[in-house]
Amino acid sequence: MNEPLLKATNVSKYFGKRTAVDEVSLELWPGEVLAVVGESGSGKTTLLDCLAGRARPDVGRVEYQTRHEGVKDIHALAEAERRLLARTDWGYVHQSPDQGLRMGVSAGANVGERLMALGARHYGNIRDEATDWLTRVEMDPARIDESPRSFSGGMRQRLQIARNLVTRPRLVFMDEPTSGLDVSVQARLLDLLRSLTRSLPLAAIVVTHDLAVARLLAHRLMVMKDGRAVESGLTDQVLDDPQHPYTQLLVSSVLHP
């Protein structure tokens, strides 16, 4: 494949007079993991929402290489098509699993929801698939009928990932997937994400303020400040030899125990 999977050109988003995202362009290739780092309020999440079709950018285009119909401008798609794309070929992992899960129904129903939305009507098959995905995200399949309320934060986050990956998407958007978890759980989750992106293969855009997460997961890194992409490049290159003063500040601010 010699076309990028996702291509954003000069994406800007304003909230009134305030500029949240200012002329950001990026390309994401199949199987590639891109991390977007920056401090709170730098427009990371707004950019992610624009890319994922959840918010409409005021300026710019977001194009996606669909499976069968070539390159499409996702904001020019009809709402029905965009929602179908979002629940088949894409995933979206929320920072807080409560937002991404249906807390009122069991783990199995959470994983099976996308399948049922796509027309799966065989209970046994849906359940088998859910069991398989719980195993893949290293959860105990015996807990398939339990409510997500009975799960710990780390397990909820893994359940959210399973729920998104069940339709085998090619692109997953992750908004701070590991913040709010303690370090050992974070490490296991990162390990899981790394093996999943490698084995599936899966492209991902990970928004994080944690440079260690970016270092572990991402092939490429984009640094944002005040809505602008100030620096981007290979992860190790940016982190080991930061060019922009803000990136230098960011790298030097990391605590080393």
């Binding site: 709402e79 129904v105 199995g108 929801e113 939305a117 796509l118 065989h122 209970y123």
Partner: protein, 293 residues
């Protein structure tokens, strides 16, 4: 219409209480509701908003059904009102008397004789005929309400036909109880397009909605929605391939008429475990007993 019937209708019309407009509602309201009904019939299963009026009884007692009935009833209609299948329960008796007083129409408890049947919780066992109209009283018109609390979102799901969520509920039933435990208000797809709540009828009655020769109108007064299933429309109950839709079955038959094919109510007769099963449709039961007597 022949002469004696016309005279009888005139006599009844004279008996109606004239301080109210015919059928209680004013003519403009009736026209507004009829417009909503026409739209509902044109889009089977789609919930049409309407300006529900204050009625002389509380929400939950059938204000939606009464407004629909009041808008379409004419002096020559023959009205039957049932509540839980019975013609003689409080809700049915009061609604029937309300329409007798405000319209003077003929009333009946025989399904076959009625032109207009207002119902709560049941569809009569006697098959409906072309030309009859069923009016259902609906407490919650939105089948997705329990699953998706945001109404803007559930309307969008209807618009885009995204109904996977309802199967999540059925999945949850099977995971928890080993079968689809939903026994009433069982969700249906109308004409292959809109998901609809059939009102709290037992799922036993769901197959009667399918390809019915009668016009079926649903009114929700509190939620201000009207929807409809026109005659000869496909109505399919949702299910899974390996857990198909089933209706309730009983081990015994009706203690009075011996019917084995009708919806039975369990009646406790004493405090020593005595119980009997009776037809919930009182008209059906009585006619079976009359036929054998």
């Amino acid at each position: 219409m022949n002469a004696p019937v016309a005279i009888a209708a005139e006599a009844r019309a004279a008996a109606r209480e004239n301080q109210y407009n015919f059928a209680y509602l004013d003519e403009r309201t009736k026209r507004m509701i009829r417009r909503a009904i026409l739209k509902a019939v044109a889009i089977p299963g789609y919930q049409v908003p309407f300006g529900s009026r204050e009625m002389p009884l509380p929400y939950g007692w059938g204000t939606g059904g009464i407004q629909v009935t009041a808008s379409i009833i004419g002096p020559r209609d023959v009205l039957k009102v049932i509540d839980q299948g019975a013609d003689d329960t409080v809700n049915a008796v009061n609604i029937r008397r309300f329409f007798q007083r405000t319209t003077g129409v003929a009333v009946t408890d025989r399904t076959a004789e009625a032109t207009l049947i207002q119902t709560r919780h049941r569809i009569p066992e006697t098959p409906l005929a072309a030309g009859q109209i069923m009016v259902y009283q609906v407490p919650v018109p939105e089948p997705l309400q329990r699953l998706e609390p945001r109404e803007a979102e559930s309307r969008r799901m209807h618009a885009l036909g995204e109904y996977g969520l309802m199967h999540v509920k059925l999945y949850e039933d099977i995971a928890r109880f080993g079968r689809i435990a939903t026994a009433y208000d069982y969700p249906v797809m109308v004409n292959g397009r809109y998901m609809m709540s059939p009102s709290p009828i037992p799922k036993f009655d769901n197959p009667k909605l399918h390809m019915s020769p009668a016009l079926q109108l649903f009114g929700a007064g509190r939620e201000k929605r009207i929807y409809a299933v026109p005659p000869w429309t496909r109505v399919e109950s949702l299910d899974f391939e390996d857990h198909p839709f089933e209706v309730q079955k009983w081990a015994s038959t009706c203690a009075l008429c011996g019917s084995g094919g009708s919806f039975l109510d369990e009646v406790i007769t004493d405090d020593r475990g005595g119980r009997m099963f009776l037809c919930s449709d009182t008209d059906y039961c009585r006619r079976r007993r009359d036929a054998t007597a």
